[in-house]
């Protein structure tokens, strides 16, 4: 397993990132953690529907998205808001989508991020098609797709891996092995010793990294991206990490795991080791931390206001969002539905 920054903040070898870039990515991790906690709180207040928290996986998402070019495609799952934000998806749309407003699923122009996948696994295949079409158009873009350890049991994963390898496409398969798929532990999900080793069967490189180590994640993903961009085909990366929170806000993890296990992983917090690294280089102070947290809260509060302030999605919209042009049966159904509510 590739590790470059230990939980106690020691760098193994030369630091792969400048202090300046490390500070920027640390800042991003503080922002996404603030976002994540805010969303969990909003859900409790009934202002968001179900929410899938990613606390503990910040380094995996921030570190893997950081080396992407802005035009690279990203296809992620429900738990990957941090990676999506890194690739340009605005907070307010990430929030709007989670309030149940489908307009949140429409990326702004020049943001190459698809709406997140809810069924486990299907989206990985889209990354294959995105990379294939990029090659067809002679574009430099690659595609990265995010998924969990559980998703590797779906046929879709294996078919996507095989297709990408067969056609030598520029896809980065980024697995966040957060140890659980709802109640199913990673060890019961697959008998493969690592998820990374599944790459061998498809004829592509597979790398296992400490997913709570920003440096290792960044380094491995940057290499995979370079390989993809150079036309040398796909890579599978397994980021070993941990979901500190519940599967979603309607899950109760005490039904399937011990608090002591969670505590162990808290000690491997992805932010803390970067904080120590920076602090030892006089690049972190408590004041800066406080400022970051305040700025992050303000920015996210503002996004919540924007999302909640979007004018209500009228009932007619659900029909109009269906097709390019509204077909006759939906014209009728829209009229009937609106009549029923006196419109």
């Amino acid at each position: 397993m590739l590790q470059l920054l230990t939980p106690s903040g020691d760098v193994l070898g030369e630091p792969p990132l400048s202090v300046d870039l490390t500070r920027r990515l640390y800042r991003a991790m503080v922002y996404v953690r603030t976002f994540d906690r805010k969303c969990a709180a909003l859900q409790k207040q009934g202002r968001l529907a179900t929410y899938a928290p990613f606390e503990g996986q910040e380094a995996a998402q921030v570190g893997s998205a950081a080396p992407l070019d802005p035009e690279d495609w990203m296809v992620a799952s429900y738990r990957d808001a941090a990676a999506m934000w890194m690739q340009g998806y605005p907070w307010e749309l990430l929030i709007a989508w989670r309030t149940g407003d489908e307009r949140g699923g429409r990326p702004p122009e020049h943001v190459s991020v698809l709406p997140p996948s809810i069924t486990v696994g299907g989206h990985m295949l889209h990354a294959v098609g995105l990379a294939w079409s990029a090659r067809h158009f002679g574009e430099e873009r690659i595609a990265i797709t995010y998924f969990g350890d559980g998703a590797t049991s779906e046929g879709d994963f294996h078919e996507a891996m095989n297709l990408a390898a067969v056609y030598g496409l520029g896809v980065v398969f980024f697995c966040q092995n957060n140890q659980y798929a709802i109640s199913m532990p990673r060890t019961a999900q697959t008998r493969s010793e690592t998820i990374a080793e599944k790459a061998i069967a498809y004829g592509m490189p597979g790398v296992q990294v400490d997913g709570n180590d920003l440096f290792a994640v960044f380094t491995a993903t940057a290499e995979a991206i370079d390989r993809a961009r150079a036309g040398d085909g796909p890579t599978l990366i397994e980021a070993v990490t941990y979901r500190l929170g519940p599967h979603t806000t309607s899950d109760d993890p005490s039904r399937y795991r011990e608090e002591s296990e969670v505590e162990q992983w808290r000690r491997r917090d992805p932010l803390e080791r970067v904080r120590i690294f920076l602090s030892e280089r006089d690049a972190w102070t408590p004041e800066w931390q406080e400022r970051l947290e305040t700025e992050a809260s303000t920015e996210i509060e503002r996004a919540v206001e924007l999302a909640e302030g979007m004018d209500g999605l009228g009932p007619a919209r659900i029909f109009e969002a269906m097709f390019d042009e509204l077909p006759p049966h939906l014209v009728d159904q829209r009229a009937e539905a609106l009549r029923s509510v006196g419109q």
Partner: protein, 339 residues
């Protein structure tokens, strides 16, 4: 005077009890699916079974729906009676080949010789803001495809009896439970989700509808959670002097066409209510049944209340806008009575 206290259970507990009793009685019955063991099923349909029967008979599976449904078929062919849970019916997409090209057709393709005595259980339905890939009912689609029986209980008594029938049936049975009828603590409280359930095993026949409420002015045919909505509507209608008969289909395959035709012959009016998409679904089939069997008795063209042909919206108010409810049923009946 003797008083008997009837034992009451939620629908969820009734399902789990039915499975437990059949597992007790027949060791070829086993359960598999995602989170059915330690978790007891995301909706509690397999609650307590792992502790009682152990991991060989209550198998938590990897997220491989094609894999474990296909394996269930194999085990069924070799004489076991698998109960295989597809966590949400919405996920059928990843495993439909096993369901409709294999589970449903092997009997036919073997000239009626190879039996697949398997129960495919699955949670369906919306109303709790879980968006368009977690809120569909889709039973019309399963009922459309030949080779599977399809049952949809609406209350604890039927849930237990239909589960036992499904397990004992020698054919593949798709057992679809609406999340809203289960009586789960975290859903909107539903008094109709709890009711008397005998402790001993019993069966409810597959293919027989139930008259959930007798009436004489109009027939409301429905299934699943909308049975509760229709019963609520019938109370409102009674106050307005309209007597509505509510038919709970309970099974879509086989469909109890006789019950539909008989009721329509009595009331002369038909409203079909369905939490499935409107087009090409159960509502059309029931209307056709009434037209074929009781055309001369109809005093008004049948009406339907169903989900329009759009995905279930994530937004709470928009979701409520598309789902059938008691008000829409009352309005539908009033339109029929005026016609």
């Amino acid at each position: 005077m003797t008083t008997t206290t009837e034992r009451k259970l939620t629908t969820q507990k009734a399902i789990a009890e039915a499975i437990a009793q059949e597992m007790e009685a027949d060791d070829s019955v086993f359960v598999m699916g995602e989170d059915v063991g330690v978790y007891g099923g995301i909706f509690g349909a397999t609650e307590g079974l792992l502790d009682r029967f152990g991991p060989d008979r209550v198998m938590d599976t990897p997220i491989s729906e094609t894999g474990f449904i296909g394996a269930g078929i194999g085990a069924a062919i070799n004489g076991m009676r698998p109960i295989v849970e597809l966590m949400f019916v919405d996920f059928f997409g990843v495993c439909m080949d096993q369901i409709y090209n294999n589970m449903a057709k092997i009997h036919y393709f073997s000239g009626g010789n190879v039996k697949v005595p398997m129960v495919l259980t699955t949670a369906c339905g919306g109303g709790y803001s879980d968006a368009g890939q977690h809120s569909q009912t889709l039973w019309g689609m399963f009922a459309h495809l030949p080779g599977m029986k399809v049952v949809v209980p609406s209350n604890p008594y039927d849930a237990k009896g239909l589960m036992i029938s499904a397990i004992r049936d020698d054919n593949p049975v798709v057992y679809m439970f609406h999340k809203g009828v289960l009586g789960l603590g975290w859903m909107t409280p539903n008094p109709r989700a709890i009711g008397p359930v005998p402790e001993e095993p019993y069966t409810v026949p597959i293919g027989k509808a139930a008259v959930a409420r007798e009436g004489s002015d109009v027939t409301v045919v429905t299934v699943g959670l909308t049975v509760h909505r229709a019963l609520d509507a019938a109370e409102t209608l009674a106050d307005k002097g309209i007597s509505a008969e509510v038919i709970d289909l309970r099974s879509l395959v086989p469909l109890d066409r006789e019950a539909i035709v008989e009721s329509v012959k009595k009331t002369h009016r038909l409203l079909v209510v369905d939490e499935d998409y409107r087009s090409f679904g159960m509502t059309g089939e029931v209307v056709a049944t009434a037209v074929e069997g009781a055309f001369d008795y109809l005093d008004a063209p049948p009406l339907r209340v169903a989900v329009p042909d759009v995905p279930i919206p994530y937004s709470r108010p928009l979701e409520q806008f598309v789902l059938p409810d008691a008000d829409k049923i009352v309005a539908g009946v009033e339109t029929l009575m005026a016609g």
